[in-house]
C-alpha cells in the first residue's frame, strides 16, 4: 500500500523565517539564520516563555516575509516539545489565527509541511504557516535533569537546539520551491531503549520512510540533490547509511543530517543537534535559501522524531520513532 501523497497543484513554500539562540548563532549556518538572539531567555522570565516568544516571533516574521497579513493566513500548523505543546498553542493565542496543533516530536516540521501541502492541494486553504521550535533549557528540564545538576552527558548524546523555524506554504504561482510529494511515516521501533541514543532509535524510522518513498515514487536516491534527515546526529547518520547499504540503496553521496550541520561538532555536543528546532532551522534557513538560489533543486526532507516520554522510559519501554518525508522541488510546472 502506498503511503505517499502526490500533490497535483504543488503548493509552494513562499517564505521562511528562522530564529536561533546564542550557541546556534555561532554554528555552521550562522550566516543563513534570520534572527539571532544573544540572550536565550529572549527577555522573558522563564525558558518556557522564551521558547514561546521565539516561536511566535518567527511565525510573525515569516508571514511578514511572505508579504501577507495575519488575516490572510488560513491556518497555523505548529507543534513543539513541551507538554501539551504549550509553546505552539500560546503562540496561536497571541497571533489569533486558525490553528492546528500537531505533535510528532522532532519530525513535527515535516508533518506540518505535509499537512499544509495536503490542505492547500485539496483547495481548502490558500496560505498556511508551518512552524516548530525547541529550547535547550526547556527540553533538558522536560526530558532529562535539572539544568544545574552535575550529571555527565554520555558520548552518544545530542544537544537540543534553541531555535525555531517557520515556513509559509501557499497556492501562489511563480518560480518557487514546491512541495511535490510527501510520504507519511510509520512508527518504527527496533528496540533501542537508551534515551540518550536518539540517533540509534530514529535511524530505522528514517530508513523505512526512505524505502517507502523510493518504492512509491519509483525514484532513486540520485534523483535528489539532497536527502536531508532531521536530527539523527553523527551516529544516527552512520546507522542510516548502514541500513541503506544493507538494502542496496546508496545515499552516501547526497545524504546530510540537520543535526550534524548545525554545530561545529566538537567534543561537547558529541553527536550534534537535536530537537524540533533543529530541522526547522536548517530547512528554513540554509536549505531554503540555497533552493531559491537554485543551488539545490530537488530536496527530500525527512525529519525524524522519537516518540518517547520520560514516563515510558522509566517504565522500561523502548523508543518508538517516526519520520515523514517531504519532497521539495524547484522548477516544477504549476498547473
Amino acid at each position: 500500500m502506498s503511503t505517499t501523497l502526490f500533490f497535483k497543484n504543488k503548493p509552494a513554500i513562499i517564505a521562511t523565517s528562522t530564529i536561533c539562540g546564542p550557541k546556534e548563532s555561532q554554528g555552521n549556518l550562522a550566516e543563513y539564520i534570520e534572527t539571532k538572539i544573544l540572550d536565550d531567555t529572549f527577555g522573558e522570565k522563564t525558558y518556557e516563555k522564551a521558547e514561546c516568544k521565539m516561536l511566535s516571533f518567527t511565525i510573525e516574521k515569516a508571514i511578514e516575509n511572505a508579504k501577507l497579513s495575519l488575516d490572510e493566513i488560513d491556518c497555523l500548523i505548529s507543534g513543539d516539545l513541551l507538554n501539551q505543546i504549550i509553546s505552539s498553542s500560546f503562540s496561536a493565542r497571541r497571533l489569533d489565527v486558525p490553528y492546528l496543533g500537531v505533535y510528532n516530536a522532532c519530525s513535527t516540521m515535516s508533518e506540518a509541511l505535509l499537512l499544509s501541502a495536503a490542505m492547500i492541494d485539496g483547495g481548502y486553504m490558500k496560505n498556511v504557516a508551518c512552524a516548530t521550535g525547541s529550547h535547550f533549557s526547556t527540553a533538558e528540564r522536560q526530558y532529562r535533569y535539572p539544568l544545574e545538576l552535575g550529571s555527565v552527558r554520555p558520548p552518544q548524546a545530542q544537544w537540543t537546539v534553541t531555535g525555531a523555524g517557520c515556513a509559509v506554504v501557499s497556492s501562489k504561482g511563480g518560480f518557487l520551491p514546491r512541495i511535490t510529494t510527501a510520504t507519511v511515516g510509520k512508527v518504527t521501533d527496533f528496540g533501542v531503549t537508551d534515551a540518550n541514543n536518539m540517533g540509534a532509535a530514529m535511524a530505522p524510522a528514517a530508513f523505512r520512510t526512505l524505502v517507502n518513498h523510493f518504492e512509491d515514487t519509483g525514484r532513486s536516491p540520485e534523483y535528489y540533490d539532497l536527502i536531508l534527515t532531521g536530527d539523527l546526529g553523527a551516529l544516527g547518520s552512520r546507522l542510516l547509511k548502514k541500513l541503506c547499504d544493507d538494502k542496496g540503496i546508496n545515499v552516501n553521496k547526497n545524504h546530510v543530517d540537520c543535526g550534524e550541520m548545525i554545530y561545529n561538532i566538537d567534543e561537547e555536543e558529541y553527536q550534534g543537534g537535536s530537537g524540533a528546532g533543529c530541522s526547522a532551522v536548517v530547512l528554513n534557513s540554509y536549505v531554503y535559501k540555497r533552493m531559491l538560489e537554485r543551488k539545490f533543486n530537488k530536496v527530500l526532507f525527512i525529519a525524524t522524531g522519537a516518540l518517547l516520554s520520560t514516563l515510558s522510559t522509566q517504565q522500561g519501554e523502548s523508543i518508538p520513532s517516526i519520520a515523514h518525508a517531504v519532497a521539495i522541488e524547484n522548477g516544477v510546472n504549476y498547473d
Binding site: 522570565k45 535539572p146 544545574e148 552535575g150 550529571s151 527496533f190
Partner: protein, 151 residues
Amino acid sequence: MNAKNSNPSYLEYVSKISPKTNEKRSLFRAFWVGGTICLIGQAIRFALEFFFGLYGDILSGTTSIILVGIGSFLNGLGVYDRIGKYAGGGSIVPITGFANSVVSPAMDFKTEGFIYGLAAKMFFIAGPIIVFGVIGSVAVGLIYYVVGLFF
C-alpha cells in the same frame, strides 16, 4: 518489551559503533576530584578541631554542614555542574553531590512557585536517598534492639 520490529542484529550493531566513555580518563578524573573533595573535608575537620576544639558527632556534623553549604553555593554560582561534567562520579558521590541534587531542581522549578515549585521539587532526586536512608536506619535500629533483648 513491546518493540514491534525489535531487531537484535541492529541493536548489536548499535552497541558496537556507539562511542564509549573514555574509560581511563573518566576514572582518573573521578578519582582525583573525589579525592580532593574528601581532602578538603579533612582540612575542614582539622581546622574545626584545632581552632574550635570540636570533637565527635559535633565535629563530623559541622564538617557536613560546611561542605553542604559550599556545595550548594557553588551550585548556585553554576560552577558545580561544570565540575560534575568533568568529574562524573567524583562529584556525585561526595556529600557536595547530595547538596547539588537538592539545589539544582529547587533552582530549576522556582519558576513554578515557591511551594509547589521550589519546595516540592527540591527532593525529586535526593528524596529517595532520605527515604532509603531512614528506612534502612530504622531497620538496623530494630534489628539491634531485638538482638539486644536476648544478649
